[in-house]
């Protein structure tokens, strides 16, 4: 039971009324510590919604999401979310706070002492390859896209959560920065031993970073397996993605 950090059991999500639109339909998977599950799919396939169902930015209409052994519905949403690192494209940083304040935000909400926050911020900036003395006091608009994304990862790691959710974190970067961050991220994820759910529409990124790939199509999880199994899968949506990337 406790071997999984996050588990979805038959989770569905309908949004809107008359007629309700099914965004996610009967999705089940589990992610263990140290494992990166990549959710791959076209725009609108429900992969981002699936991610938000885990930290309850959206509530499921059926099924159950279990994080750290407890159903997400049994915990106040803010408590649940502080235990889950969340990285999104570009805009995730608060523009009125410095890099250090952004990274230290969740620790501050958790009532850490200032000294402990400062030490943690230094440690994390070093971890993501940004020199603290150069970057700590900058604001997000003074950073490049790649630097912003590094800060985003550092912030998600701030209180050392066992689970990270990443929604196209490298989506807005130029190809060179993107490849560089992907490589570093792969090394980082191997060292940290976190459970991760990583959303992307880039099949190469998925194959590089994922221990397992989940293929989403029209709200359903149509394939779930290792990258090797993914490459051999006959499923038409998987083939379409592989051919588009070839």
């Amino acid at each position: 039971m406790t071997a999984t950090v996050v588990e979805l059991r038959g989770v569905s999500c309908r949004l809107g009324t008359a007629p309700p639109r099914v965004i996610v339909h009967d999705v089940s998977f589990a992610v263990a510590p140290g494992e990166t599950l990549v959710l791959l799919g076209r725009s609108g396939s429900g992969k981002t919604t699936t991610l938000k169902l885990i930290n309850r930015l959206i509530d499921p209409s059926a099924g159950e999401v279990v994080v750290g052994g407890r159903p997400t519905g049994a915990v106040p949403p803010f408590r649940l979310r502080r235990g889950i690192g969340y990285v999104i494209q570009e805009v995730g940083l608060l523009p009125h706070l410095t890099v250090a304040e952004n990274i230290g935000l969740v620790p501050r909400l958790e009532g850490w002492a200032n000294q402990r926050i400062d030490a943690r911020v230094q440690e994390l900036l070093n971890l993501v390859g940004l020199a603290p003395e150069r970057f700590a006091q900058r604001r997000p608009h003074e950073l490049s896209g790649g630097q912003r994304q590094r800060v985003g990862v550092a912030r998600a790691l701030a209180v050392d959560p066992p689970l990270l959710l990443l929604d196209e974190p490298f989506g807005a970067l130029d190809p060179i920065t993107r490849a560089e961050l992907q490589r570093e991220f792969k090394g980082l994820s191997a060292r940290l031993g976190k459970a991760m759910v990583f959303v992307t529409h880039d099949v190469r990124e998925g194959l590089l970073l994922g221990n397992r790939i989940g293929m989403m199509q029209d709200g359903r999880l149509v394939f779930l397996g290792t990258p090797e199994e993914f490459r051999r899968s006959p499923h038409p949506e998987v083939r379409a993605f592989l051919e588009a990337a070839a």
Partner: protein, 210 residues
């Protein structure tokens, strides 16, 4: 210069009237902020109230100021002759720009920023205090600036109901057809408005985050 001579001859009275004028504007703007900012925040949480509340504030704005001062005089508690009535009227005028800008400032924040903040585990109160209010501060201050500048002008009319202020000279000047007297009230009022505009403008620019 007649105006300079006038000020030298009446320096104590001038200082008193400027003080009264400032007090009227400061009191009324402070009360309008205390009512208007929370009201604007409330509208972002209850969007169905937006139409009626902003509509009503708009309606108040259209009442000619002299008429509003007149309407207030017979009212119990709020009305009567003097500064209290004038402050009530000035608050009514200051409310619209403050409520509207608070609402617009907060609802104009990129929804992705709000969602990121929620995703980090902020409660509603933390979201308001740490994200929404700081990011909307520039727009809210712009509203307060408009309210203050309009208030400085409108407060000159408060002299008509015995609230004092620089309007005293203007009304006296109109009554006796003396341009120097009118200018004695109008020039410092204009300078006060410019000064308030400049100071609040400097404050406002400190809240530009890009």
């Amino acid at each position: 210069m007649n105006l300079v001579r006038f000020y030298l001859d009446n320096s104590r009275e001038v200082v008193g009237l400027v003080g009264q004028h400032l007090l009227l504007v400061l009191m009324s703007t402070a009360i309008a902020v205390a009512i208007g900012v929370p009201l604007g925040i409330l509208l972002t949480r209850r969007p169905v109230w937006r139409g009626p509340v902003l509509g009503l504030a708009n309606l108040f704005q259209t009442i000619p100021s002299l008429a509003l001062f007149g309407f207030l005089i017979p009212l119990p508690f709020l009305g009567g002759i003097g500064a209290r009535t004038a402050i009530v009227a000035l608050v009514v005028y200051a409310l619209l720009p403050i409520v509207r800008n608070t609402y617009v400032g907060i609802s104009g924040i990129d929804p992705a920023v709000r969602e990121a903040a929620r995703g980090m585990g902020m409660t509603d109160g933390e979201l308001l205090r740490l994200v929404e209010l700081p990011l909307a501060a520039g727009v809210i201050l712009a509203g307060i600036r408009v309210a203050t500048v309009v208030g400085v002008g409108t407060a000159t009319i408060a002299a008509a109901i015995g609230a004092g202020g620089l309007g005293v000279y203007i009304f006296r000047g109109v009554a006796v057809v003396d341009n120097t007297l009118i200018l004695a009230g109008a020039v410092p009022a204009a300078l006060l408005a410019l000064g308030a505009d400049g100071l609040l403008g400097i404050l406002e620019r400190r809240f530009v985050w890009r």
